[in-house]
């Protein structure tokens, strides 16, 4: 083995550095490809104008409107494509979008939508009724195209074009026809992708032809997604010229990026992160009522669609008094104060209060306000007597104890389970808690081998979906197989109300039906809403001057049903680009550090090399 001479060492060092550079080259060239595609568009409009950068920890499964199922791509599609209708920024009611108006037939089975005149795709082609009909028909006839939104068209029997109108014929009446959250795609672009629609992710050719307020100009998985304002958008050009989504995997890093000004908007903050940003200069915070409910689901005794029982849910929970007693024993105010740090609202009806049209609240007499005495009375009446140790036993002598199931990804669960354990013990009920990962949680719920489980759903402006999952027919076909429903609940009265609201076209009458369903769920006490957490967000007030919330006055910027926030955002006046001004300084400091460290290293190496054994001894 030959020994390294100083020159060889220099070579070795150079080789390491060159290696890093070589490794960076493919990564750089991958980015370069996207850049090249983007600069093709930017040649007409060079990189200038104002950019709004959003930090997201969401993930994109696909950018094809036919395949994307996650929240982030769905939100991005709202920006890229106009839907038939939209939801009003003030109060979420359905308003015109691609369809300028609509009518229904007396038998409720035919809907005629008039397509807006003069709209153009970003490549200059006109947007027509044909595009709408083609998109819907593809989803009705092609299983792959139905992956993401197939259920929206499941009740369609025919979609036809009549001049500038799209005529949709239904199999049965459907009150959710103004809540069809389906991006309409340009037929002339997508026709060539039908053959591989199940694998085409719409992320190879930029800019992507669309007709929404923004045009997708670039995407690097797990790095960033870039959009440019559509200057010809019919509702008006957005205030920012560019919109960038930057992907983060760690929420704390997002917060630091906002403080630095590397991103302009963060959402989904924890109470601690939110508090740390409050009062910082140039940062504005927003606390909005959430669109999500957080509930304690009770296993009603798992059954299949045909009524075959399975699982091992505690039979005591089939007694309504026991279920209600649990709710009287739970202090939801404490949960909001402690688990949510005060950023939330105490639970009531199944539909969160942010959706004022459909939200229902129990009156004070009927509400499960914290009352251990009442819980004890109910349990006594149900025949579960307290023993000498203060713990209850069932009429056949078995100790009354429940298993609580939570999910590791939801930090709330662990904390809430600890409170729940104490409160149940106070009324003589034993309990054990298991907090598992999402997969294990799913398996346990599907098998029906739990008693109490934490459960959480996001609700849409049209509440149909969350209402539908509690129907008898959504229980599993086969015992132990995963199913589309939520909690094995089967209540014929509830199902009848569900059918009534889905065929009711009068909004006020439908809202009444929905509230009755909420009332039913509340008194049955199988799905017990504990709270609605606030949506916590923050943005750079030196970058974003003004933008619209949904709903108003108290609503969120992120997670809107519509594109209002990003479309309406206006740059703050006289904002300075602080990041580029100190680039020179940064470069200077880096060079100085390299010179000092490198120089010192060379000196030390030289000195040691010349040292001999004698010198050392």
């Amino acid at each position: 083995m030959s020994s390294p001479t100083p020159r060889r060492r220099a070579f070795a060092l150079a080789a390491v550095l060159a290696g890093a550079a070589v490794l960076s080259a493919p990564a750089a060239s991958a980015a370069g490809r996207a850049d090249a595609a983007r600069s093709a568009l930017l040649q007409q409009a060079p990189v200038s104008g104002q950019t709004l950068t959003v930090a997201t920890n969401g993930s994109i499964d696909s950018l094809s409107p036919f395949l994307a199922q996650r929240a982030l791509p769905t939100a991005v599609h709202r920006l890229m494509y106009d839907f038939l209708t939209n939801y009003d920024a003030k109060d979420d009611h359905a308003i015109d979008a691609l369809a300028s108006k609509w009518t229904t037939s007396p038998d409720k089975l035919t809907w005629t939508f008039t397509i807006r005149d003069g709209m153009k795709w970003s490549d200059g082609q006109p947007v027509t009724a044909d595009d709408v009909a083609w998109t819907y028909n593809l989803m009705m006839t092609n299983d792959d195209a139905a992956t993401a939104n197939g259920n929206f068209v499941a009740n369609f029997s025919k979609v036809a074009v009549d001049g500038g109108n799209v005529v949709i014929t239904l199999k049965q009446a459907q009150s959710t026809m103004l809540a069809l959250d389906i991006p309409i795609v340009p037929k002339h672009v997508w026709e060539s992708h039908v053959a591989d629609i199940g694998k085409f992710n719409n992320d190879t050719q930029f800019p992507v032809v669309g007709d929404g307020p923004f045009i997708l100009t670039g995407y690097q998985k797990d790095q960033y997604l870039t959009l440019d304002a559509n200057p010809n958008y019919w509702r008006g050009k957005p205030g920012f010229d560019h919109l960038v989504f930057k992907f983060y995997k760690d929420a704390d890093a997002e917060v630091e990026a906002l403080k630095k000004g590397e991103v302009d908007f963060v959402y989904g903050l924890t109470p601690a992160q939110y508090d740390s940003l409050k009062g910082q200069s140039n940062i504005a915070t927003n606390k909005a009522p959430g669109k999500r409910f957080y509930a304690l689901a009770v296993n009603p005794g798992a059954t299949t669609k045909d009524g075959q029982a399975f699982g091992d849910g505690n039979p005591a929970l089939q007694n309504q008094q026991v279920r209600q007693a649990i709710m009287y024993a739970v202090d939801t105010k404490t949960l909001v104060a402690k688990t949510l740090g005060g950023y939330g609202t105490v639970g009531g009806g199944y539909i969160p209060p942010i959706f004022g049209t459909y939200h229902w609240d129990p009156d004070s007499a009927g509400a499960y306000s914290y009352n251990p005495d009442k819980a004890n009375q109910l349990l006594d009446a149900a025949g579960y007597k307290k023993g000498s140790d203060g713990m209850r036993t069932s009429p056949d002598g078995k100790p009354l104890s429940f298993r609580i199931l939570g999910e590791t990804n939801r930090p709330d669960d662990t904390q809430n389970a600890a409170y729940l354990t104490e409160w149940l013990k106070a009324v003589g009920i034993g309990s054990s808690t298991t907090v598992v990962d999402q997969g294990k949680l799913g398996d346990t719920e599907t098998a029906g081998t739990f008693d109490l489980a934490f459960d959480s759903w996001t609700v849409n402006p049209d509440p149909d979906y969350v209402l539908s999952i509690q129907q008898c027919d959504l229980r599993p076909k086969t015992a132990g197989k995963s199913f589309a429903g939520d909690d094995f609940i089967c209540d014929k009265d509830y199902d009848a109300l569900y059918q009534k609201q889905i065929t009711e076209y009068d909004p006020a009458a439908r809202a009444d039906d929905v509230k009755q369903m909420e009332q039913k769920l509340y008194s049955d006490a199988y799905i017990n809403v504990l709270y609605y957490a606030n949506a916590l967000e923050a943005y750079r007030s030196d970058v974003i001057g003004s933008w619209d919330k949904q709903p108003q006055p108290e609503g969120a910027y992120w997670g809107q049903d519509g594109y209002w926030a990003f479309w309406s955002a206006k740059p703050a006046s006289a904002s300075s680009s602080s990041s580029s001004s100190n680039t020179g300084l940064v470069v200077g400091i880096v060079i100085a550090v390299v010179v000092v460290v490198g120089g010192g290293g060379v000196f030390l190496m030289r000195r040691r090399r010349t040292a001999t054994a004698e010198e050392r001894e």
């Binding site: 083995m1 030959s2 020994s3 390294p4 070795a12 390491v16 290696g19 890093a20 490794l23 960076s24 080259a25 990564a27 750089a28 991958a30 980015a31 850049d35 983007r38 600069s39 990189v47 950019t51 993930s59 499964d61 094809s64 199922q69 139905a146 197939g150 259920n151 992710n201 998985k221 797990d222 790095q223 960033y224 930057k246 983060y248 995997k249 760690d250 704390d252 890093a253 630091e256 403080k259 630095k260 590397e262 669609k305 990962d437 997969g439 799913g442 398996d443 759903w457 149909d464 539908s468 959504l474 995963s482 589309a484 940064v586 400091i589 880096v590 090399r609 001999t612 054994a613 050392r616």
Partner: protein, 355 residues
């Protein structure tokens, strides 16, 4: 200090002279065909076992991909059944395995459930960021660790030795996540007089164009995650190198070399270090093999688009084809790197050739 060397047949022979490379050439082939064939055969058997285990391992992972992917989406029972059929998970386990085995044998890793694109393409697009980050960090950590390890052993007990070992151990035991966040707060956002020098995360900025600006942008993004990994990783090289070199220190051949009046530097570099290199080299190759599996923690805190986080995302579904593909890929990398290390031993150390 008496140190017993491992009883290698050649242990009594003097260490390779300075012109050792020439000696190797005179002895003929550094690697005998039999040695190479044995190692390559072993690697092939390991690979087969990996393909077999890869399938069954992830069937034990709890969770139903169909449920995970449709939760919160309006779907009916028929759509669930159709998805299950499309994924092929409605078939008996053995027939699923047959499908999988024939697919893998053809070199097809399948299509990801959640991303609807081929697993090979997904691995292809994520492997460079990972190799770029973890590879660079491994090389720097190895060079740094081995250098300091040699110095420390040569002057063991000195203040510098104790300080170096201490610092390395402290950094080694530091949670990657915490260290990364501290670096972000101090060097990205800026702390006190320190300006925010580096980006808070990601591998590149979207609005940079041109070759040199793009390379500069990539390097700027690399600094903090690389620094984090180096800080955490270099201790193992330092300690390994220091320990093996200490074992050599009492050897007679070093006394001989010194008696010949060789410079201390030459005694260390040409006589002691070559005999102590094997464990460190093994470590470098082992780590280069695992480098492709990325560092989930460093990739997460710095939002690096690498394989580690891809694996994590696949695990939450579970996205079976992606998990199987990544598992095979990770295992193959380790096996290939190990094979390379084994093939390299006889070249590095003649004693291996005769065993």
């Amino acid at each position: 200090m008496s140190i017993s060397l491992p009883a290698l047949p050649d242990a009594a022979t003097p260490p390779p002279p300075p012109d050792g490379a020439a000696v190797v050439r005179r002895r003929g082939l550094a690697i005998s065909p039999r040695y190479a064939a044995g190692r390559i055969g072993g690697a092939a058997v390991s690979m087969l076992a990996v393909v077999f285990i890869g399938f069954f391992l992830f069937r034990i992972v709890p969770g139903d991909p169909v449920r995970a992917m449709t939760r919160g989406r309006p779907v009916d029972a028929d759509q669930l059944a159709a998805l299950r059929h499309q994924f092929g998970i409605d078939k008996p386990l053995l027939s699923q395995f047959a499908d999988y085995a024939s697919r893998v044998a053809r070199g097809d890793l399948g299509t990801s459930y959640q991303y609807k694109s081929s697993v090979s393409a997904l691995i292809g697009s994520h492997v460079w960021p990972t190799v770029y980050l973890v590879g660079t960090a491994t090389v720097i950590a190895a060079v740094l660790g081995i250098r300091i390890g040699i110095r420390s052993a040569w002057r063991h007990g000195s203040r510098a030795d104790r300080a170096n070992s201490g610092i390395a151990l402290v950094l080694w035991s530091m949670p990657t996540f915490w260290l990364g966040l501290i670096l972000i707060v101090v060097f990205s956002v800026g702390f006190g007089p320190i300006p925010g020098l580096f980006p808070t995360g990601g591998m590149s900025a979207p609005d940079v164009h041109g070759f040199f600006p793009v390379v500069w942008d990539h390097l700027r993004h690399l600094v903090l995650p690389c620094l984090t990994l180096v800080a955490v990783l270099y201790a193992q090289y330092l300690l390994t190198m220091r320990a093996t070199l200490l074992e050599e220190l009492g050897a007679d051949y070093l006394t001989t070399a010194r008696a010949k009046g060789l410079r201390d530097d030459d005694v260390r570099r040409r006589h002691a270090v070559p005999n102590a290199m094997l464990p460190a080299v093994t470590l470098v190759f082992l780590n280069l093999g695992t480098a492709v599996s990325g560092s989930i923690l460093a990739e997460t805190i710095f939002s690096w688009p690498g394989l580690g986080s891809l694996f994590y995302e696949a695990l939450t579904v579970p996205d079976l084809p992606l998990l199987e593909g990544l598992f095979i890929f990770f295992a193959a990398a380790v096996i290939v790197m190990n094979l390379l290390a084994e093939l390299l031993y006889p070249i590095l150390d003649p004693r291996v050739r005769t065993t």
